[in-house]
């Protein structure tokens, strides 16, 4: 893994809470390279599926465990939490249909999407999670990526699952409370974790935590949860510094500042953040 990986920071914090009575069902992405034959850093179980169908893998395992429990072929203490682990490429794109259908079926599972806002494992090409204006390996022009980041939280919440939350590794208490809460309920529980990516976002690995904190403070990464049909912001940044404080630490936004400031794009990014928080704080 790369030094300063924000995805790993979040996954480590999450795993500490979930624990080893779990089976992680993984889709193709950076974290696929954690378990390399014949070694694994995970004390629990792991199944690699493919890029598009990790939630269907969770369906098969959950159903099989339920059948075995019903028939008394395994004991309740042998049961496992089924946890889907994917990046944003799978979560926002190729695997979205499988996730939507798993929520339709009210599958009892936890979904962790580490979001580094691009196809990080292949060198940070544009994904549906890439933010407006960011330079990626496939958006190298002077304006960066011309589209806007997909609102996966809203798409997931529209299915009315048991729980949806956003977290950041740089806010570990908020993260711990949300994972703890998700572990206490059953049904589809889905988490998007911001994953600052030194390699893909082009910043010094030592800045991972600072960038995560700034994402929350500037309001560009809202920490929120949807539970019992209700949306709540868990950390409300009342004094929001300008979003460019977050942007200027990252090489992927450098073209917005040098050789001259791109006021249009910077203004558009700030406006979208302001519009989001209007009426909330």
């Amino acid at each position: 893994m790369c030094a300063g990986c924000g995805g790993l920071e979040a996954v480590k914090e999450i795993y500490d809470i979930i624990g080893e009575k779990s089976v992680f069902i993984n889709a193709a992405g950076c974290m696929t390279l954690l378990a390399v034959y014949p070694f694994t850093p995970f004390p629990g179980s792991w199944l690699y599926t493919a890029m598009a169908s990790a939630p269907a893998g969770a369906q098969g395992i959950r159903d099989a465990l339920d059948i075995l429990l019903e028939k008394g072929r395994i004991q309740p203490e042998e049961d496992l939490e089924t946890v889907v682990l994917t990046g944003d490429g799978a979560g926002y794109g190729i695997g979205l249909s499988a996730t939507s259908a798993a929520i339709d079926r009210n599958l009892d599972f936890l979904y962790i999407c580490y979001d580094n806002e691009g196809y990080g494992n292949t060198g940070q090409q544009t994904s549906a999670a890439t933010p407006y204006g960011a330079r990626t390996a496939t958006s190298k022009g002077p304006h960066g990526y011309p589209g806007h980041k997909k609102d996966l939280f809203a798409i997931w919440a529209a299915h009315r699952p048991a729980y949806v939350g956003t977290v950041a590794g740089a806010e570990p208490l908020d993260l711990a409370r949300k994972i703890g809460k998700a572990m206490e309920i059953s049904g589809p529980r889905l988490i998007i974790a911001l994953a600052p990516c030194p390699t893909g976002w082009d910043f010094d690995p030592r800045e991972t935590v600072a960038i995560g904190k700034l994402a929350v403070k500037t309001g560009i990464w809202p920490l929120k949860e949807y539970v019992d049909g209700k949306l709540t912001h868990t950390i409300i940044p009342r004094q929001r510094p300008p979003v460019e404080e977050y942007l200027k630490l990252q090489g992927r936004f450098a073209h917005l500042f040098e050789p001259e400031r791109n006021e249009d794009i910077l203004g558009e990014i700030q406006k979208r953040v302001d519009d989001y928080w209007e009426g909330i704080c």
Partner: protein, 418 residues
Amino acid sequence: MKRTMLTGNSAAAWGARLAGAEYVPAFPITPQTEIIETLALWIDAEEMDCRMVTLESEHSMITAAGAAAATGVRVFTATSSQGLLYGMEMIYTVAGWRAPFVMVNVSRGLSSPITLEPDHNDILAARDSGFLQIHCATCQEVLDGILIAYRLAEHERVRLPVIVNMDGFHLSFTREPVEIPDADTAGRFLPQYDPENIRFRAGAPVSEAVTVLGGTPYSYFRCEMHLAALNAIAAFDECAADFADLFGRRCESVESYRTDDAELVFVMIGSFATKARAAVDSLRRAGIAVGLMRPLLLRPFPRDRIRQILAGKKGVAVIDQNLSVGMGGVLHTEVASALYGVPDAPPVLNSFIGGLGGRDICAEEFYEIASVTGKAVAEGRSLPPRLLFTGQELVEIRRLQAIAKARRKNLNGGSNER
């Protein structure tokens, strides 16, 4: 045991029921859908203790099937054609998980053009995946084949998933007399699945299907799969012998019909082979020494048995119900590879391609194939692949095209322009 009239799809559902399938991830596709509808009806009526889940695609369906099998329950599923291809990434993937389960494929020609009728390009696209393949010619074989497939998949020296194949319409929707084994005897043949080390449990962590770095560990796992698949040749004979003891019906890995004293042999798989069988009887009455060889087991490929059956024959005509575009028939190349360099191998091995998209192969065509192959034997050389398509069929197509053209002309006020 009771004897009744069943479609191939009903026979498949009975196979899954008698095998005690505990979990069925499903997705509808013509001409397979009747299988999952039948199972759903039995589950709802509590005649079958099983859980069915409808997935949103075959890709997800095969993922769920493999994942459940890897957790330690007995899994059944079914698909066809476009569905099999949509799930193809997972066909290869779950075979590598070495999680045994059984899937029925109801063969149907592949798009484009889109059709509902059968040929074998769908199932042969899964040829190299690691799934074993059993090809059925009758509805009885569909039922029996599924029971044998579970024994084979779960065999301790095999541990690979199995596809049981039948032809759409010609078997799936055709009623034939089928003997349905009683549940107790089926249970004796196929006791409860013992997953042994195949499982996910708290307190006994396992990592499955993890990344390998470099060719050596990759080759290690691929070679293991190949050796396990080869073990399935002997294992099939074991299972078939046990099956025959209990049910009195013998499934051979390669069926040979009137081949002992034959000079020419037809080679076919699937239900269209029953047409070849009827043609063999007619040709025999006309004094022509023809036989039929029909591999039931296509993966693993029963090479030795095929060599044995074809040893000393003068000519072989492989009739493929598939087309490897730009090459010819897939089964033909497989048979050729089994025979090359074998001392007693037939000197003539001809290739014919017919039955694409359900096109009939009529008796006269089998007679012509025998005649052409007989001449090739006399001349001492094999012929290039021949595609069965008659002049009359071409006339029909041209006639339809002319009608469509004329209608368009009328719509355009007499002009040929669009």
